[in-house]
Structure formats: structure tokens, C-alpha cells
Symmetry: C2
Subunit: 430 residues, 2 copies
Amino acid sequence: MKTLIQNTKILTMTSEQVIENGFIAIENDRIVYVGEQKPENFEADQIIDGKNKAVIPGLVNAHCHIAMTLLRGYADDLPLEEWLFQKVFPIEDKLTCADITCGTSIGLMEMLRTGTTCFADQYFMMDNVARAVEQAGMRANLTRCQMCFDEDVDIQKDKTMQEARAFYQNWHGKADGRIQVTLSPHSVYGCTPRYIEGIVSMAHELGADMQMHLSETAKEVADCQAKYGKSPVQHFHDLGAFDRHAFVAHGVHVSEQDMLLLKNKNVSMVHNPGSNMKLASGVAPIAQYMQNGINVALGTDGACSNNNLNMFEEIQLAALLAKGHFMNATSLKAYEAIQMATVNGATALNLPAVGKIKAGMKADLVMLDLDQPHCYPMHSLISALVYSMNGSDVVMTMVDGTILYQNGEYLTIDAEKVKFEVKQSVARLF
Amino acid sequence: MKTLIQNTKILTMTSEQVIENGFIAIENDRIVYVGEQKPENFEADQIIDGKNKAVIPGLVNAHCHIAMTLLRGYADDLPLEEWLFQKVFPIEDKLTCADITCGTSIGLMEMLRTGTTCFADQYFMMDNVARAVEQAGMRANLTRCQMCFDEDVDIQKDKTMQEARAFYQNWHGKADGRIQVTLSPHSVYGCTPRYIEGIVSMAHELGADMQMHLSETAKEVADCQAKYGKSPVQHFHDLGAFDRHAFVAHGVHVSEQDMLLLKNKNVSMVHNPGSNMKLASGVAPIAQYMQNGINVALGTDGACSNNNLNMFEEIQLAALLAKGHFMNATSLKAYEAIQMATVNGATALNLPAVGKIKAGMKADLVMLDLDQPHCYPMHSLISALVYSMNGSDVVMTMVDGTILYQNGEYLTIDAEKVKFEVKQSVARLF
């Protein structure tokens, strides 16, 4: 299959230079050409005209719990502990495979509608998530998130350990390579040290990457200090969790020493401004991370603490919060905020062929309509993307060269069926 | 003209109770009935079906400079002083009547597209703004913003004083009462004390309300302290500026004493979270204002410091920032954030018949599509409006009972002409 996108603005993310009227040639799952001239000798099966439109790399949502979309708007304006233990966990105990499937599918629709082509997801009953991702044609980094409070657990016989291993073995590299599987101790407060060591040991054995929650709240850090005499970063570090390629979510409460540890181990940090603000967890010091040379990606977290999966909102929040909270108007420039949601996300998820529009890269692309009032005038596409536009401006989303969403149509998802199933699940659960 | 909106969710803003399947009857510019039953003996000329939709009061943007939409995205990631003096003022010096007109019209399109029915605006060449508002059918509180650094100015002969007076006399109460005119000393740093007294005196003479910028940056407060030995709030207060009904924009840097003065004089505060974050001006202590019983409204500020006029983003930012910055997840609940953008805005602008859906009130209404992925599931309409949805979900905007925007069509604005004129203006100005 050969596709040509023509006559369109292009932000390649290889530099801040915008191609004002360019062409992208795609062969199967790969970009084979990008430039200002029409490619020679390229006979397209399909031509997409990009007049009054812009093409950017598909966005990478580097921290999510997609099936939690079923809990969207169910518990607002509460602090994290109360929200999690009194509201979220009791509902999660009741979730069935059917719930996970439709919760995932409605989340995938929202992601595709708003320009996300790849996401990292931590949850349970992950086979259902993986199947939905495979069918939808999305790209994802999935993990069976692990928690264990039992000091004497038999690591070999532990059910969750077995599930995480089986999930890795069944799904890593599947769906034409679109699905990657990682291992994930939920957090320092969600796992015993022995359990974390068990997961790290399995990661070495399988050759798996790692992802986890880290230093999200001040309480988490204080509790870790009290229990283990060290910060969550140091604790994970000392248990070997960063000896594999790893990316961590939140990183709100970190010291200079923590940053050095993360930098030394090449750990990526996933910033979740919307969730952190909503749960009043604090504000991650993004400028400091960047000064320390740490790769910073961006995530929405689950729709129960956001309450949507719209990465354009997250990009804007990141740019505004870095300025407003730390009172520095030059902090996190617009282009840097887009980098977080594209190339940096791909780096975090260990996907070198994702995040830029360049020959040889995966054809994960998003096309946006520029003919809306909020796009007039357009002094700068980069500024518009961050500060003026929104996910609703997306008119086409493509993964691996296949169009998954276009002008209101979900080409791989039965939207009406999914919406019906979501209503059924919610009626039963709540 | 009689219009019936039927079978729709309604958030009236008279309480948090959502009408799940309701009816709104409109006669000319007024709502005559709201309820769960179809109104009896109401023969509608026009019926609007609201299945899978919600109706809320039109949003009130209580601080804007709409013609600055021409400068959208032109100067980003800069501190306020540099942004204003080196970037904004030089362009503003070049603006013509034609620029103001098309800059206003593209802003009106964006407002209508995203659910704003009423706005407060401070700028110059305001006749052009008023004409565009009148033609578009919007509601607005407009003011010829006044600055003067000349200690010896002849108040009677001053050109800007005369413009402000003429604008009041020509436009206050015009456009079927949709246009209100106020007086506005720009700020304590933009006017001499004598000049402010001159404006206050004119306000008393005309019976005009007042609006101004206030305590936006720490520098403004420090400079005012150094020059006058008092805070900007105290300074305006002592010059009599709060003896008329007044609303002030920003209010970021205020003391407890300032709050008491504002409360005593019944001054409304207009919160501009997006602009304040983007320019790193600081974060207004909204919870404290509310604890002090001060009416807090919401504004976008101009599109050059936001960079859009989308009040749904502002509602979400207000709710998230109050939690995230002050680390209190229960601060500014979702319903309170919507109040700021509706009833509180109407109170600030002295419009008692605006901001609620209730018999006798003006028919300023917004209809939203609930059939988008980010609306599934919908545990709470209020939560969805604040945390999940966006201005792009608006499908119909009505002012004074007249539909001004519906399903992509601007019924009172020639959209293609406006977009063309914006491009012409920008090509000449920049």
C-alpha cells in the first residue's frame, strides 16, 4: 500500500522548521519520503490532500490506565488517597473482562479522535487491552501492573507474577510489532522490596523494559523515607529496578540526588500535569529535569484523574504550568512541550522508529484542520498547536501507514457497539 | 418568535441538579419556561431537539481584548513586560479600523464556536468593536480603555477622555440593550492619579460602571508601593474607583487587606488563569477570594496571551490550577468553576438577567453534543463540562433567543470574508 499526503504544512519534529507546503510518501508501515517537492516515481494507491491542514507525528501518551475510562468523572475533587482507596479500588474489584474491553475501546476511540497513536498502559486483565489494541490497529506499550503487600509471598507461585510473565510471552512484539510488553512494580508503596526484586529478576530473564509510578505525592516520599530510610527513587534504584530500560510516571517530589540517579540510569520521566493538578499531588519540576538532561515525556494518566485522554490538553497544561507555577515565562517553550508528547515519549517507550516524520520512520501520523477560527491568524504552527488548538482539530489519525480515524469515522472500531457496551458496563458497576 | 428546546439535559445553574430530560421555552429574547414537562399551550415556531445533548447558560468571558486576536501566537514564551512593551505595543500602534473590525469578528466567531455569549472588552477604536458585536448579535460590555502618563494633561480636552465619553453616549444600552459601556482606567501603572480621578468623575456624571486591570504582576504591586506607598487596590480605592460598580481583572498579588477593601466595595474579581500562567504573572488565590465572599468571574484575556478565547479551557484551568498550585484537591469544585464562567460573570458585568436558565432570564444558551468518546461514560454532566469536554463540543449558541452559531455555520457573520480580511491585515501588519 502506497499513500501520498500532499500540499500540507508539516511539523516533522526533526527541527523547529515547519515545511509550509510539503509531501509525505508512505509505503506500507513506513515513511519513505518527506519534503517540499513532490516525490518522483512514487505511484500512490491513495492520495490525501492537506490543503489548510497540518501533519505532525502521532502523539505518544506515555502513562495511562485506559480501561479506567469507565470511571471517568465518577470521583472528582478528592485527594489522591481518598480517591484511590475509597473510590477507585472498590470499583476495580468488580471489573470483568467485558468491562476492561469496552473501557479500553472507548479510550482508544478518544485517543484516535485526539491524535494519539501510541500509549503506555498499566492495568490488569491486560489480555483484553492487548486484543482491543491489536484490533484497533494502535501502537501500545502494555504491562500487567503488579502489587503485593505479602512479605512471605512465594515469588515463583505468585499469581500476578505468573500473569505478568504470561502476558509478556504472549504479547511482546505481537500485532505486527505494534505491541510491546514491559514489567511494572506498581510503586514503592504497592510492593514489598522482595517483590520488586522478583520483578527485576524476571525482567532480566525475559529481557523486558520496566515502568512504574514514582514519587507522585509527598506522602509517598515521606512514608518511603520512614520505612526504608531513603527516597522512592533511591529505593527502586537500590533494588535494581533501573538496571533495565525504564520509564517512571509522575516524579513530582524528587531531590537533586534523585535526579542524578535517574540521569545516571538513563531513566525517562513521564510528566502528568493534568492528573497531578487534579489530585493536588504537586507540580513536577520539569525545567530541572530538563537541565539535568533527563528525558521528559508526557502522559494523561487514567481518565478517572484527568478526566480525558486528550494529549493536546496535556501539552498545553505542561507548557502553562511550567511557566505559571514556577513564575518563569520562558520555561518549557512551545516546541519543547510538543517534543515531550512525540520524540521524548518514543524515547521513553524505547521506540526509536516513532516520534518524528522522517524517511525510515513508522508512518504514525496525525492531520489537523487549520480552517477553524482559533487558527486565525497563524503566526506560528508550533504556537498554535500548543496554545490555541485542541485534539478536536484532528481530522485523520494513522498508525503504521493505516488510517484508523478520519473525519468522525473510526475505521477499525465499531463505535456504536462500544458506546452501547460502555453504558451496559456502567449500569452494572455503579 | 417562539422556540422550544426539547428532550435535552439541562444545567440551569440555579442549582447543581441536572434536568435529565427537559424542555426550555423561549419567547423572543427571554426564557419563559424551563422544566421536565413539555410546556402547555406553547406553540413553537421552531423546535430544537436535544437528544444526546446538553444545554447550559451561555458563557460570560469577563476580561478580553478581542481585537488582539490578530496577535494570536505572535509573541510567546516571554515575560509580561517584554511581551507588552517590545512586542504588543509596536503592533498596536499600527492598527487601523479595518484591523480592529476583522480582529474582532474572528474573535466573535471563536467565542460563538466555543459557547461564549457575552464578553467584557477593553481596547481602543471601540466603535469598530461595537459595530461588529451589534451585527453578530452578541452581548458585550465594552470600554474605551484609557491610559495617560502626562501629569499636566487637561482632563477636559484630553482626546481619550472624549473618546471614552462619546463611546459611552453612543453605545451604552444599544443593540437592543445587548451592549453595555463602562469606563476603564487601564491600570495603576497606566494612568496618573489625576487621570484616574478624572475618569471616576466622568463615571459618576454618566452613571457608568468601571473595569480595570489590577495587581497582575508582583512588579506592578512593588512599583505602586514605591511610588504611592500603597497597594494598587488601596490606590484605586482611595481615588474613588470602586465607588461605582466595578470589576477588576487578574488580582494575582493581593493582601488580606486588599481583599477586605474589594469585599467592602462589592468589587468583582476576574480570574485569568491561562494568561496569568502563560505570562508567569503568578496564580490568583481564588479560594481566598471566595472565602472572603468576593464574586469571582473568569476571563480569557486577549488571544495574544492565552492564545485562544475558549472559555471551556479557562474553566478547566481554573479548576485544575486552584488544586494543583495550592495543593488542595477539594479547592474550586467543578460546579464552582462553572459558576465563575456563568452567573458570577453576569454579576461582575452587572447583568442580572444573564447567567442562569430560568423563566424571565435572557435566552443566552449553549447546546453541547454529548455523543463524543470523551463523554462516555457520563457519571456527571458537571464533571464532564469541566474536566472532559471542550468548547469544540458546542453545536449551538444562542443570544437573546436568536441562534448565532449552529453545527459549523455562523448565521450572522460572513466567515469566509472575515478569514480573508484577517489574512490581509496580518500580511500588512507583520
